[in-house]
Subunit: 279 residues, 2 copies
């Protein structure tokens, strides 16, 4: 049987999602805690919706794991709570405070955390106050010392939306496509005065969100014209003047799945390599 | 001449506001930074609106300091910015990231950070999700493992409002009154699902806000009846069953001052000891 977990983490002290020898990663920390609480040995293998980099945060990350039905039925020894609720409480007791599982549910048939997802939503937060970032938000808000023009940033961001080859903003990997559909990319100033990007795509390639932020920042502070990001996109190769924005400001906020009857179809679709309609 | 500074800090790694030998305090950290940036030796003496305890945060703390007019005129060597703005930028360069000065202004005549204040507003934030506090908010939100009834908490809080002797909720100090006017005390559930107290008074005595939170928490989770906090108040002595809520959830959010022409009058008033009308 398959469990779906919804989780959040402060990425500051994690070397990203993916397990790496000798590093503190979200994957290993969570797998160990699940192994301990559910008495699974070895610890379960986890499939994640969005493999976040070192320092990147999440408030709406999704994971699935498979476990023998006997292990689930044997859990917990004694409890008045439903199993899913009891799992949350026990995980809260063993996980470090920078990692929390907020929801546990039995996955519907066909559910696959990575391939069933139809889109991912990220937020990137920036404080452009020359006096600095309010201390209680310093872990998830980037400080930019020059004032930003949110209107210019949204205009520039809009030129990147749609089905494009995002090679200019991706680390190239052999055999992997860099074609994605950027569904939303806009900038707003929120009630706290932070400049916030909302970035939604069907999927992202490695460091793509932070490169999309990095290419628009110099438009916001007047160092580049509004049409510069579109020029970079058309170049289709990594541009040396585009800096990947720091991990600190980035949060994976939501992973969206289709209705239950579409889960398996979507997973099969996602596994096929994406290609441009013209190619 | 007198400067007013508006500041914020993450109290987690500070031993409170007030300078103590061998401890990292907000007062000492800020005074040293000001001494360095404004070239004042010795470092300036600071007067603060609210002396927060170890671990308590602030987003709207107010401080004043006096400095020789020549020091201010000599600052900064060269800058295109107004002096007040330049001070913020230079302080951001030398202060640690858990302490930020957000605004610097020349204080109007009669302004006194502590005694001119007419009220202080604190917020206390609690997460009652059995799964734990969202990791990015763990520094300023308390985890309470039992679900809280916000309606019961507000009903209980309302019985404490007004001009009262808060001796039951204060550390008694010889010669100091414990009579205060509690202007606002209410509980709400915010958009993030946190249970948040708003507490406003003309002034607070030591640990009073956290004791006011501590006496209402057991009402919220059903361990005490709604009228229990009022009974404790009437007792007028520290009650052994009232626990002072942890510092982590508490933020000094605002200090309110009267119009400029009332600043000096208010300061004189505040210096007189408060007494109950009936006594």
């Amino acid at each position: 049987m398959r469990l779906r977990l919804d989780l959040g983490y402060d990425g500051t002290d994690f070397a990203g999602w993916a397990m790496q020898p000798g590093q503190r990663t979200v994957e290993e920390t969570l797998a160990e805690a699940l192994g301990r609480v559910l008495r699974l040995d070895p610890a379960p293998r986890l499939v994640v919706a969005g493999r976040t980099d070192a320092g990147v945060h999440a408030s709406g990350q999704v994971v699935h794991l498979d476990l023998p039905i006997e292990s689930w039925q044997a859990f917990p020894g004694r409890s008045r709570r439903p199993r899913e609720q009891e799992l949350l409480v026990r995980l809260a007791g063993v996980l470090p405070p920078d990692l929390r599982v907020h929801r546990a549910t039995l996955a519907p048939p066909g559910f696959e955390a990575r391939f069933s997802a139809i889109r991912r939503r990220y937020a990137y937060r920036i404080c452009d106050d020359p006096a600095g970032v309010p201390p209680l938000r310093r872990h998830d808000v980037l400080w930019h010392r020059r004032p930003l023009d949110v209107g210019l940033m949204t205009s520039a961001a809009a030129t990147l939306m749609g089905l494009n080859d995002f090679a200019a903003f991706c680390k190239r990997r052999d055999g992997a496509t860099t074609i994605r559909t950027l569904l939303t990319y806009r900038w707003e100033r929120d009630d706290a005065g932070f400049v916030v990007a909302t970035v939604v795509a069907d999927a992202f390639c490695h460091s793509m969100v932070r490169a999309l932020v990095g290419v628009v920042l110099p438009v916001g502070d007047g160092r580049r014209p509004v049409d510069w990001p579109a020029q970079v996109l058309l170049g289709a190769v990594r541009h040396p003047a585009v800096s990947v924005a720091p991990a600190r400001g980035l949060v994976l906020e939501e992973v969206v799945y289709p209705d239950d009857d579409q889960l398996a179809v979507r997973a099969a679709e996602s596994r096929t390599v994406r290609t441009l309609p013209s190619s």
